[in-house]
Symmetry: C2
Subunit: 360 residues, 2 copies
Amino acid sequence: MKRVIVVAALVLVAVASYAAPKVSRKYVDASTLTVINKAQPGGGAFERLDVARYTLTDGADKVFRQSTGLAVVFRTNSSSISARWTTDYRTPRPITTDVFEDGLDLFIRHEGEWVFAGIARPVLKGDRYEFVIVKHLPEGEKECMLYMPMYSRVSSLEIGIDRDAAIEAASSPFKHKVVFVGSSLTHGAAASRPGMSYVARVGRIINAETPNFGHNGQCRFQQHFVDIVCNTEADAFVFDAFSNPTGKAIEENLYDFVRKIRTKHKDTPLIFLQTIKRDNGIFDAKGRANNDYRLRAATQGMARVCKDFRNVYFINPAFDVGDDHTGTIDGLHLNDIGVERMLKVVGPRLKSILKKHGIK
Amino acid sequence: MKRVIVVAALVLVAVASYAAPKVSRKYVDASTLTVINKAQPGGGAFERLDVARYTLTDGADKVFRQSTGLAVVFRTNSSSISARWTTDYRTPRPITTDVFEDGLDLFIRHEGEWVFAGIARPVLKGDRYEFVIVKHLPEGEKECMLYMPMYSRVSSLEIGIDRDAAIEAASSPFKHKVVFVGSSLTHGAAASRPGMSYVARVGRIINAETPNFGHNGQCRFQQHFVDIVCNTEADAFVFDAFSNPTGKAIEENLYDFVRKIRTKHKDTPLIFLQTIKRDNGIFDAKGRANNDYRLRAATQGMARVCKDFRNVYFINPAFDVGDDHTGTIDGLHLNDIGVERMLKVVGPRLKSILKKHGIK
């Protein structure tokens, strides 16, 4: 009997120690840290816009609650960084990775530069995603920037650190704010991870927060874009406005779009990006004709706009992916190569325009 | 009564014309065309290996039935090309696109070069995928190469063309055959579409069929790789053999792996690629140490192998993604930028080695 009790006790101890949770990590609600790249105050902590303030069409009510372009900035001395999060309102995208749509992308400041440190793959553990982003970090305090999902709304996000480590909100690392409005190209198809989207990369190049109002397939001079822009204080606005509308729609709507924005923002730089010379045009004759019309309407429309309004700029070409047909996933949407090539063209032009306006 | 009959007749005609299927397109079973990049005969039409011939471990029995690396080549005068297909045995990949895992990527010969023409997104229509890849093609016969899914088994594939167009099998456009064995880097993570995987791109660079035996996470000198290589007639073999094993496993297994292959292939060039200098090592000290061991073991092991065996080559560095931390999706797996940079290093070296052996 005594032996039975001893064995039972040993089993109990074994089970208890096995069942005890590994408490090597603690989690902090990321909404208590600093969320950057929001254009305006209000809305959910991880939503890019307070959608209740606007009359939104074309599904923008859901899409503008996605965390596209947002990032959490914080400081920690933890040796590892992980994340637990949940998402909804996901836009399914055959041309983007799960990491881009629903995952996280961590950068750490290293010798003055923002350097890629690791991704959080959206891997379910129970009813939420959980992933260790980076381990075995060197000692000392690290300044971190965690880019959020591009095609989902983040309903909760917690940052995990060592149990004995500290974490605190960091102030925004960027002085200025340049707001992007656009199509799927701006929403971010088809870079591989959130921090590789062209808008995020531009932010690190021009040293500015870059709120992202990309809406795949739906950037067509609608009134809600005018309203959002007019309600936003920014150093400059960048428009990828010629990717979704037809050539005819550009002819009909561009001038009025700029005029409406100028009723509020009298002098703020408005920078328009020419759309991509689609890479499938080499074979698809009709597609090429449609897109040529689009490119021509943009060029002609911008000539008139730049003549009639001050501080309006046209970067042409902008989405310049080269001519070896490797820069897109589908003839239209820039993969990482396309983004890299585009930045070689757009980066210096943007910097030069912003510098002219004292934004540097 | 007469009026009722007339109305009923009109309704019937209307319904009939509405219900009549749009027969503007016809479909051809792709297994009746030419499938290239198969290492050996046998197995399903769209399977990269006849798995019944081998004793496969580590899940390779399923994975080597995937269509990774295969392509269908054909000629057609159709003005549009579409596809209907079904897949199974899909490996879920948070770091790759649906198009890469489960979709198709079409190239058309244009002025002597293989040029990207369009993708087929895996979009379900009923119980199978269906997608129009390209429309409005110029008149005349086109030579086409359709890359197949990288992380699925294709259970059926049909090519759709205009009803009045013709389609026929084309002979392989490539003279030589260079077989690739490797890890996820070779399996193809994380290029954006099948034709952008490094193995596919190398094929177009060196003008050779490039069968792909990449197996994500599972290329560790196993006997089945020896068996597959020994049963394959090829002009050369390329090994990405140092990405999955530990440094210790490389020290223990590399020499014997080469020795076994040399019992069958006495003189065939065996070209080994150094693994990637992982891009997360900048922060993860332990990860860096492990990978440094791996790199060192490969370098030392290859020195011995190259001394003892003829026609064995070591390309070091090989997966050279640069030093700005944009070349991978997760510190390890090459995105399109990483593949492009790697090819700048590996492409010329491979060409030069193959040329030395009369393979050009």
